[in-house]
Amino acid sequence: MIQTGNASFVECNGRERAIRLLDNGTYKELLGPFDGLESPHLEPQGIVPQSDDGVIVVKGTMDGHRAVVISIEGNFQGGGIGEVSGAKIAGTLEMVLKECESGKKTIPILLFDTGGVRLQEANYGLLSIAEIGAAIVALRRHVPVIAVIPGKIGAFGGMSITAGLCSAIIMTKEGRIGLNGPEVIEQEAGIREFDSKDRPLIWGTIGGEQRTAAGFSDLLIEDDTGAVKTAILSIIKGDVIFETKTEQVQRYEAFLNMADPSRRISPEDVRDLWNQSGKKAFENCSASQNAKFKGRGQTWFDLLRNDAEELGDIPSVRVADAFIGEKKVRYIAVVPDAQNRFPRARNGEVGVLEGWSIAKHVRKAIEEDRNGKKRAIVAIVDVPSQAYGYHEELLGIHQACAAAVDAYASARLAGHSVISFIPGNAISGAFLSHGMQANRLIALRDPEVNVHVMSKQSAARITQRSLEELEAAAKKVPSMAYDIESFEQLGALHSLVDGVDASNPGQKDCNVIYKEIEKAIEDVAMSGSTDLKNRLTSSFAKLGGRTASILVREKLNEQWN
């Protein structure tokens, strides 16, 4: 690479960024442009692939410390995570984890420049992001996992949750982090909620400066390669230590309880709230009376818990401990709440309150069972989406989702059986937060059980295709389809249950699900594994559902040393 005088980091492409961080002459690129691992899913859709699928993995040293830099190329397909690019990230982190576990400390550094899931590969992105998250949570027990969000795109969608899981986030003023991009909020909630053309509004809400002042990013730096290096090294050397955001449930809950979304909150208000939340004692707000909509989540929660006492503290996140035979189980369901303080989360979406509440109740179970028998945790999944709104972004919905992801993953790693039971919709960021970190996924075979990453309207807008074109593409690529049978082809489901009434279940249906949950718990115990690898070793995965994901990991393993 010919070095120019410009030290800007933002202006560099993905590969230049990765290489410039590492010590001269030490780097080795893995699965580079000449290794022939491009996305197999783009060409059939008439889209030109890139030789590295937009993710650059470079191994080397940084000031003598062993490090691996994973850099996302934002200019290729908006940095979207597809099967190959996702597997490159997840597979690399899994390799780093192996090294760390064998005592060879290696620092993973993630350079984000991504819109999130690549919509043309949809559910592959979703699966990959769950695997990336799982690896980060596991890695954080060994080394700091460092996120850099330089801009120009930033970190969005599922990848904002990924960033939220990292030990520290470094941003420039140009960087942005948010769960839902401005265009998507405008599409889903209207231009009065968010005007995607209003650049000061965008950066005021989700830009690096605001995020760092409001508790969602740790270091704000200049756009300069040297500054990026210095910041990363200060974390590697332990000169600065940040509290893990996903574990600070109390502080973020206090912060959210002080926020009043009945009026429009300004970015400055949020900075004040964040500063106050560090000082104020946490007051629990009491659960308001829930107007009982009967969604599937609610129905199944009531049926499965039987008469067990409810432990939840907000109406939209229902929690109860019950027994299946001898086995203690904590059920968690996200349900509609017509009085939710956040109007955008009233239909059962996962919003800021829901994410942190899930995290709290999962962590409580981990804490209570620390020295005893680990109860199973069952996520009942019927979630229409994450909440789309201005306040949601301003108050860090991505971090709330990350907290839930982290809690479920931590429970899994601590030895709890985490099971997802999917009787309804399992959509996008909501599913990533509530369900995707489970050891085993159980779904009902039913036309209204859907898994996907974005509503068709938004996906069409973002990929600049018509609805008809989108639907035609979905027929060719199973990962883009919304139905549960297509999702099954990808190999992540433990079981797809037939003959159960999903909407109006009776005791007979309930008993079937008890059996399924019991079987899944036993399967987890038998396997003795606490990671998500079973999704890649299932027969569907091997028979073609995850061909590229498996191949990428094999090649990484070959090239590693």
């Binding site: 230049e16 030109v48 692939p49 890139q50 190329e73 290729f76």
Partner: protein, 103 residues
């Protein structure tokens, strides 16, 4: 998407393989690898269809000016002819660098 291939007779080998550019708006990715044969083989994939004549003109001109035997792959995302020519020249330059030529 359109796929176009060309072959030209060539005599001089290049030293290293080279990779430049990104498959991003108005840009393209060029991969150039040494080939032992006596010809250059160019494979183009482009998302913008209907510009075969323009491609032919740009590629012809470049390889008539530079006699190199190489395997060239191009992934295009709407680069203008000028950008194509500059990226090809850059790839050729990188292929002659003696160290760190892999990026």
């Amino acid at each position: 998407m359109e796929k176009i291939t060309y072959t030209f007779p060539a005599t001089k080998n290049i030293d290293h393989r080279a990779h430049v550019g990104v498959v991003g708006s108005g840009d393209l990715e060029v991969m150039m690898e040494p080939s032992d044969g006596s010809q250059t083989e160019v494979t183009i994939r482009t998302g913008i269809t209907g510009f075969k004549n323009t491609w032919e003109a740009v590629i012809q001109r470049f390889f008539s000016q530079h006699d190199v035997a190489a395997k060239v792959r191009i992934n295009d995302f709407g680069a203008t002819p000028g950008v194509v020519a500059i990226r090809l020249a850059q790839a050729l330059e990188v292929s002659t660098l003696d160290s760190n030529g892999k990026c």
